[in-house]
Structure formats: C-alpha cells, structure tokens
Amino acid sequence: MRVMQSEEIESAIYRLAEEACLHLTPACETALRQAAEKEENISTKFALSTILENAEIAAKEKMAICQDTGMSVILAEIGQDVHIEGKLFSDAVNDGVRRAYEDFRFRKSVCDPITRVNTADNTPAVIHTEIVSGDKITLTFLPKGFGSENMSRTYMLTPAKGVDGIIDAIVDAVKLAGSKPCPPVYVGVGIGGTFDTCALLAKKALARDVGSHNSRADIAKIEKIALERINALGIGAQGFGGKTTAIGVSCEYAPTHIAGLPVAINMQCHCVRCAKTVL
C-alpha cells in the first residue's frame, strides 16, 4: 500500500488547472492550423487565424485562452493500493480548483441552478472517480465551457437503428448545434451503457487527443464516417461556412441492454483544453 498526502492531489489539481486554461492541447492546435490552411472563405479564414493568434497571446501573457474557464471536470483513476492521508479526496480537489481560479484570475462560472447565485470560487468541481488496480492516481482536468456543453444531447435509440443510427445521431446533434457551440467542434460520443454511463463516456471521449482513434476498428470507422459527414454540413468555423465544422469525433463504448442503444454526444468547442498527470 502506498500512502499519499492530500496536499499532493491539491497541488496537482492547481497545476493542471493552470496548464489546461492557458494552453490549447498540441493536437488541437495542429488540427486548427490544418483547418486554417484549407479554408478559402475570408470570414472563416479570419476566424481561424484569430483563434490561433489568441492561443499565442494566452500562452505568452498567461491569460485564459477563453474567458469561459468552465466547470472544472476532473476524471480521476484511483489505484486501490493508494491510501490518501489528510483531507477528503474531493476537498483536496476543490481546494486546488479554488486556489487556481483565484490566483490565475480565471472566471468563476459556477452557480446555484435555481437562484443563479454564483459560488464565487468555481467549486464544486465535477469529480468522476474510478477505482483501478495499482498504487497510482491519474488525474485529468477538463475545463468545460457551457456554450458547447449546452449543445450536448442524448439519444435513446432502438437496437434496430444500429451503426447507421449512431452516425445519424452524431451528425444530427452537430447540425442542430449549428454555430452556437463555437465550431469547429470536437465531438465526444458515448455509445452503450445506460442513460448515465453513456453521457459519462461521451465526456471521457473528450479527454482523448484530437486525431486519435478508438482501438476497436468498427468504432474507429464510426468516428471516421461521422467526421466526414459532419464536415460536409458546411457550417464551418464560427458558423461562417467552410470545410471544417469538426476537428474530430471521439467515441467510447460500453456494453448495453438487449433492448437499447444509448448514444450521448458531448460537444466541445474548438478550444480543446485538457491536462493530465499521474501521481
């Protein structure tokens, strides 16, 4: 058994928040550069060049890439041979978020759903924990903006719909979202499980690098076909029209019930921010 102090978790979250909110992931930046090279429409080209210029300014001047520094989503894989000493795990995470959002002047965007009163420190974080083997803790920090989160959808398909139905659902969600989620988007898809696990899989899919593929060939094929169909929609960067409406489709799956085929689409704007560490 390995003993870990909760301070180690708290300071890791603090560093991840900084890294994630100030930088695009390298894979996302590469995809955006490639998209910019392909466009001919002046407004669309302008949108993409502005986005890339912004990323440089944010990194250089230590300003948040996007003012929507999001809800702090943390995916934690906790080795069952780790014993945490000190604070409760969730308290350590929330304290790391609280300190980072204050120190780096990130926007506090969390509020009560009814009164809309802001919690003023961006907590509580959204924490998904999974117990895994080993004595390490893997932490992934996804600052999730809501322009794109609002455009997410769940489809409870019938098994008869099959692979074509899954692809139709993905394309439909992106089409309905139009210009609102800040395209070109990164599309996280959960396939299977129950209503809830399917949505969580879609979120986890967004933690995968832009341009990566599912290791299962039939799932990777869904990613590829869905991306081609999305980019044929012509929505383009910021909805100004163009060749790149999505920079990637990432699917994760889980076994489901014989009566169902849940599909969840979690939309991510072009500003793909994600930082990971292993403790």
């Binding site: 302008f46 300003m63 003012q67 929507d68 965007s109 322009g147 139009g178 800040c182 909805g239 100004f240």
Partner: protein
C-alpha cells in the same frame, strides 16, 4: 490577417449601420456595455416593474460577455463573446428601447432578425474562444450595474480595434444564411 477591415466608431451612427454588410470585417473602437444572461433578465424585470434602468440603452452597443478578472496591469482579463442565442428572448425588447448594436457569437432567432430590420440596427460576431485577444482590446473597464452578478455584471468598456465580422446587417443580410 484581415486586409480591408472597416473602422467603426462607437457609439455607432445610423449612417455607419447603413453602410455595413454581412460578411464585412470591422474593427470596433469606442464604448460598449457588457451584459449576458442574468443582466438581461434583470434589465427586463426592471422594465416590467416600470423602474428606471441604472444606465441608458439608447444608441448603445451591448457585448454578450462575462470577463475573467483583470490581471495586474490590464484593464480586463480574457473576454470573448458568449453564445448570443441565449439573449434572443430579450433582444427585441432592448432594440425597441434604442439599443443599436449587439456583439456576440452564433446565429440569432427569426424574431431578433426581424427586430434588427425594424430598428435599423446591426449584429456583430466576435470570434468565440479568442478571449485573451479580446481582453487585450479592452482599454478601460468600469462597473456600471449589478455588482452582485460578478462576471455577469454590466460593465462599460472602452475598446480599441476590436475585430468582428458583421453577422446580421440592417438590410437583411445574414452571414449564417449565406450559401
């Protein structure tokens, strides 16, 4: 980068609005007000109750945005546009009160489009996600109303060379409907 961006001074004039066409690149300079979800709800509640607003909307430009806190030495933190569609249910009412221009991101409802035509106003699209770049274009920031709303409060910004694209013009042109 853009080559033929038109310079637009704010507050905007009817003549300037007349000359803008959907798809035009513009650089905005002058003063604007910020306002997003909660501020709009509160503005409309004030109007419903017949109370006077703490600021005048006539001739103004509103920016759908909620900034990050300002870093040391800067007027404003990151401050890109938020999704305008969430303000669609409020916008026609504000345009009828004399609001002249809106800055945000993404398409608008039919009602907002009609109101833009009726009121001879304009909707500018800023580039969503470019928060740091827009934050740097804010040269002065002053809290105007609703401080309890934190980043959602109404601020008056002085902006310089704030890059936008004309999204919906006063002649019915709409960049989101171009083919």
């Amino acid at each position: 980068m853009q080559e033929k961006a038109k310079t637009v001074r704010l507050p905007i004039t009817d003549e300037q609005i007349e000359n803008l066409k959907a798809g035009d690149s513009v650089l905005l300079s002058g003063t604007i007000l910020t306002g997003r979800d909660c501020a709009h709800k509160r503005i409309c509640a004030f109007l419903d109750e017949g109370k006077e607003l703490p600021f005048n909307l006539k001739g103004e430009t509103i920016y759908y945005a909620g900034p990050c806190p300002a870093p040391d030495g800067k007027a404003c933190g990151s401050c890109g546009p938020t999704t305008s569609a969430r303000m669609d249910s409020f916008a026609p009412r504000l345009l009828d009160l004399g609001l002249k221009a809106m800055i945000g991101k993404g398409e608008r409802s039919e009602d907002v489009e009609k109101s833009i035509l009726k009121n001879h106003s304009v909707y500018f699209a800023a580039i969503g996600g470019a928060g740091a770049l827009y934050g740097n274009a804010v040269k002065k920031s002053e809290l105007v109303a609703f401080p309890d709303l934190l980043s959602e409060a109404v601020y008056r910004f002085e902006i310089k060379d704030f890059p936008c694209v004309v999204a919906i013009d006063c002649h019915g042109g709409n960049i989101y409907k171009r083919k």
